[in-house]
Symmetry: C2
Subunit: 225 residues, 2 copies
DNA sequence: TCAAAAGTGTTAGATTTACACCCATGA
DNA sequence: TCATGGGTGTAAATCTAACACTTTTGA
């Protein structure tokens, strides 16, 4: 291989995944106890090293796939974290990505095999290295994103009630919303379709189930550039 | 040195700077013709490699300093760019940063020595590799940032007229603003101080000069978290 | 029969937008 | 004297936020 930049030094580059889920009306993050040195036993995001033959985006997707077996997952870059001493063992620059998954789609056996757990984002233990900072930034970005794009559906089952949807927005924004104002806004979104199905699991009366219509969303002139 | 991650491969990591300036009512970016292979002669952002002993933020600041001799410059990370073939010579992951400088503070001799030029962001030549993508993302982030924080002053002299400030916002947003509505909003911002000084360079009548008061900004309760 | 969640409109206030003329001055 | 950019306020429209009661049904 030609070495154009031989006078410079190479550095380990990793990816770390902030995997968001939504369960029991709480926004959750998937973390596990670190199984390698340095930092063995500390709570940590799941990550991996970037290989020479893959893009950083692909490295993030691969890492997520290793952990969850899931593909076609919504992932977005959070940013690069590169303090000199962020990894106590070696110089490692890490690129954080957040992912949005529906917790029901994640096989719980697989989750246990990897020893990772869903923890409430409002109630997280101290994390390894700068991982807390990554989570904070990821949450901030996701919160901004959800204001302008309907990415929240990634965190819900394909059929959901309006109350579930409201609780999701509340968990993401960290504040309660007015039920009537919320429903009014939802009604204006043609890509949220009411079905004739009723969910009786959370109330005696039952609530209509809704679904996100991607096709209608892509056609919505309010969201064209 | 202990080698914890010896089974993985290291990668070159660079930083690239999107340096924004404001001149003749246009938003400009500083670019130059690349002086090294691969890509020699192509228009390119100014960049450099991250060293083992410095953080990525420090690498960006150092790179900017090398080019401009300027310190204490406002810089923010744009993100990591890591397609496998983004650099035709070697695998290089690059972290882009944008900087806001006042073009008058940049010594023009130094600029010429480095062979870089201010080009209108609306009228840029094709750029090396993924640099255009970096510029686009940087601009988008800067545009969002300026909506909530008064970072625009970094692009202006310390004394400026309201028309200059309006033109800056127009250049950043890419659309014209209503003069009266703009001035109404500015008047509400206590950290933009009117001085008794008059600028006669752009009109016969002359226009009052204003200044940004950082102290008043830091105290503004509208901007506390 | 009652507890618990679902569902539904209106009004006041705040914010945003549109819009046109006089002023001061140097050439 | 006139061309040029500087400077100023109001009203309509839109958006946002606050708010309370009825319905259904299983236990």
């Amino acid at each position: 291989m030609t070495t154009f930049y031989s006078e410079f030094q190479k550095i380990f580059v990793s990816v770390d995944c902030i995997i968001f889920g939504f369960e029991k009306n709480k926004l959750k993050v998937l973390i596990g106890k670190r199984k390698m040195d340095p930092g063995r036993g500390e709570w940590s995001l799941y990550g991996g090293f970037v290989r020479l033959g893959e893009s950083i985006d692909d490295a993030a997707l691969r890492t997520l796939f290793e952990l969850t077996g899931m593909q076609n997952v919504y992932m977005r870059q959070v940013g690069a974290f590169g303090n000199v001493d962020r990894d106590p063992g070696e110089r490692v620059i890490s690129i954080a990505y957040y992912a949005l998954i529906n917790v029901n789609d994640y096989d719980d056996g697989l989750r246990q095999e990897h020893g990772v757990e869903w923890v409430d984002i409002e109630d997280m233990p101290p994390l390894y290295s700068d991982h807390r900072e990554m989570v904070n930034k990821a949450r901030m970005l996701m919160k901004e994103k959800i204001k302008t794009e309907p990415v929240g559906f990634r965190l819900l089952p394909s059929l959901f009630t309006l109350t579930q949807l409201q609780r999701l927005y509340e968990a993401v924004n960290g504040e309660e919303l007015d039920k009537r104002n919320f429903r009014k806004r939802i009604k204006e979104m043609d890509y949220i379709e009411k079905t004739e199905l009723i969910d009786k699991s959370s109330s005696k009366r039952g609530a209509f189930l809704y679904r996100f219509n991607r096709h209608a969303y892509d056609e919505d002139p309010n969201f064209k550039l």
